[in-house]
Amino acid sequence: MAVSADPASQVQVRLFAGLREAMGWSEQLVELAPAAGGSNPAGTTPEQLWRQLNLQPAYPPAGVRVAVNQQFAAWDSSLFAGDELAFLPPISGG
């Protein structure tokens, strides 16, 4: 079975606003790399996925924030299969 066909090891990645337009996509399912020595793919971080997806600039800019399952999260938090990860460019509401 191809890894890419296993939904239990995938993370939904979403982009918004200027970042979405710069990259040309708004969401995609991304495989978590299997953890060394086991089938549990936990341990991948938003920062790793930013690089893996070739998001620009290569090092995440200070103004961009991360949300995991629609809650603000740290760049080095652990992602789990089924998570929804979003990269949020600088906010300007109100």
Binding site: R14, F16, A17, G18, E21, G63, A67, Q70, Q71, A86, L88, P89, P90, I91, S92, G93, G94
Partner: protein, 148 residues
């Protein structure tokens, strides 16, 4: 009546406040001693001073609503306010149209005013909204807020 609501279409702040008053009266009976409101409207020109055709507001469906609710609950608790109302436009908003309404009731004027002010600031900086200014047919993402 939901105290927090995203509006895809133009809304009239005074109508929203009237509806909220009815909602509060049904729950509380007597009207609270202090009430503070803020209405923000789209400016006629953009960051580069060119005439603005429209402001476009993108949000993160689900997260934005939850985030506003959590900011409102935090501000209400911190200031000991009684009730809060938030209306925020999404989509294309025309110059002069209301983009945000925040209203707070409290037992005293200080908490009402401070809670209203603080909640507005947190909406601007903490709730996932992104603004794009459309001017001369060109859209430009805004990466900050106007100065306080």
């Amino acid at each position: 009546m939901l105290p927090i609501q995203l509006e895809a279409d133009p809304f009239e702040p005074l109508s929203a406040l009237a509806e909220w008053h009815q909602f509060l009266a049904a729950g509380l009976g007597i009207r609270p001693a202090a009430e503070s409101h803020f209405v923000g409207r789209v400016r006629p020109s953009g960051a580069n001073d060119a005439p603005l055709e429209a402001l476009e507001l993108e949000h993160y469906p689900g997260m934005t609503e939850a985030c506003i609710a959590s900011l409102a609950a935090a501000a209400t608790g911190r200031h000991g306010a009684n009730a809060v109302l938030v209306r925020h436009r999404i989509g294309l908003v025309l110059p002069g149209d209301a983009i945000v309404l925040v209203a707070v009731t409290a037992d005293h004027r200080g908490p009402a005013q401070r809670c209203c002010q603080e909640l507005l600031e947190s909406l601007k900086h903490e709730a996932p909204f992104w603004k794009r200014e459309w001017s001369l047919g060109v859209g430009r993402w805004i990466t900050g807020n106007t100065p306080l």
